[in-house]
Amino acid sequence: MAPRTTDRRLLVGVVLGRITLAMVALVAAPLVGSGLRADEPRRAEEPHLAIRTGLKCAQCHVNRSGGGGRNDFGSAWAQTQLPARTLPVRTRALNDWVALGLDLRVLAAATVSEATPRTEVAIQEAQIQVQASLIQNVLSFYVDQTLAPGNATSREVFGLWEGLPLESYVKAGRFMLPYGWRLWDDDAYIRSQTGFTYRTPDIGVEVGVEPGPMSLFVALSNGNSSTAENDSKKQVTTSAAYVNRHFRLGGSYAHNSDASSKTDMAGGFGGFRLGPLSVLGEVDYIFNEARDSTTTTNGPRDQFIAYVEGNLLALKGLNAKVTYGYHDPNRDVVEDQRIRMRFGLEWFPVSFVQLAGFYTMVEDIPQATTDVDRVTLELHLHF
């Protein structure tokens, strides 16, 4: 690992200045939110809540493999268990069969770099989720519509048939594929390098079986992140986990291929809780036979990725988080690995509101242009 050339001690003042700018920007964000970067990375992870509660993803999310809009229980739980101060609980149901969900995330960020200082305010996401329960607890139509950034588009839209034997279900449409931890942070290596992010849902069919403490998901999809299908091959993505009140352990596998490439990836994920502490982690190994643009060779390229995250619930409504990500982009090349670390606080002062502040540190090879630290402040309104 090559050392950074920048002396961090000289940047303390810069950091403090940027934090101030970022705080001002965060306050101003709702007023100037238009015209911001559409590719702004997301900065909040939620899977630690599953570890903390010992519950399956389906307990709180309409998408039973996790992420996206919350169901009735998830909405009530978020309003009553997350915040330091609870307001009267609002039901997401518009009537006895249609329910509504909302998410707005506004981010203020400052890069910590002598060469390219920059501040920005961005809308990370503005989502509206609608669930129509056509047959109670059996058949639902669900759409998770992106209002911003960028053009309005549906992140997820699917039909869900539940209540089948062995706690199973079938889902068809566009949805996020079931692989590993569904972190909110799309820039975490385990998400950005495997390709299973909130920006890359796919069109296909998913079957889930969740008897007792087990969860098994199998998805068959186009394998092209919802772009036009142009081959006869399909992607298979699977994930299985054992969910316990105090820990969970799981594994994932995915295979995708087209005329010019083939990718296999496998990984394990898990986590545990110990009092107010919850820890989760994931490791992935990617074998890609696609043409490697970084080395201009056609040979195979193996990647190794690891991620660890610790969360400490200091007080009700206040969570301290530390994350560590490791990525070796080519196992055949020495000293090309990189590390990404984040630490900060998440504060839920009152129902519907989350405030977060993070420092992100990237240790990369000297030639990399991504080796820039960032301070971020985030406002998240959720319902």
């Binding site: 509660t53 519950l55 039901t91 149901a93």
Partner: protein, 146 residues
């Protein structure tokens, strides 16, 4: 008997009544709905349900979990002498908190009586020991709808 005699009898009875009034010992506190001085359902137990359980998606709304609606005005009929879905116990068996499945669910001891699922409130902070004791005491006192 003339009207004057009746009037005198009524006045006499009233005066006699006042004259015999006690010091209040043994009477209920007007602020306490429970005749024995223990926790009352409306004043003490229902607020716990309302604050921790009776939400849409949990134990309220059009489709409450386990068909058990704990909303104000619904809770009592949904729990007292009602068979639980997860175990052979009644949800609340009057006078027997240890044979009441609701108690085991909030204590997290449902597994010891053949139950299943998680401790309630699900995925949240457990009720305080004081709240659990209050519910147990209400059941011990007969689980009255007071």
């Amino acid at each position: 008997m003339g009207p004057g005699v009746v009037r005198m009898a009524v006045i006499g009875s009233v005066l006699l009544g006042f004259g015999c009034a006690g010091d209040g010992t043994g009477l209920t506190d007007p602020d306490d709905n429970n005749n024995n001085g223990g926790p009352g359902f409306a004043a003490d137990v229902q607020p716990i349900f309302t604050d921790n359980c009776a939400f849409s998606g949990c134990h309220a709304g059009s489709n409450p979990a386990q068909g058990m609606n704990l909303s104000d005005g619904q809770a009592y009929a949904n729990i007292v002498n009602v068979q639980s879905n997860e175990a052979s116990l009644l949800r609340v068996k009057p006078s027997e908190p240890d044979s009441s499945y609701l108690v085991h669910k909030i204590q997290g001891t449902q597994g010891s009586v053949g139950g299943s699922g998680g401790q309630m409130p699900l995925g949240g902070m457990a009720l305080s020991q004081e709240q659990i004791n209050l519910i147990r005491e209400w059941i011990t006192d007969g689980a009255q709808n007071n």
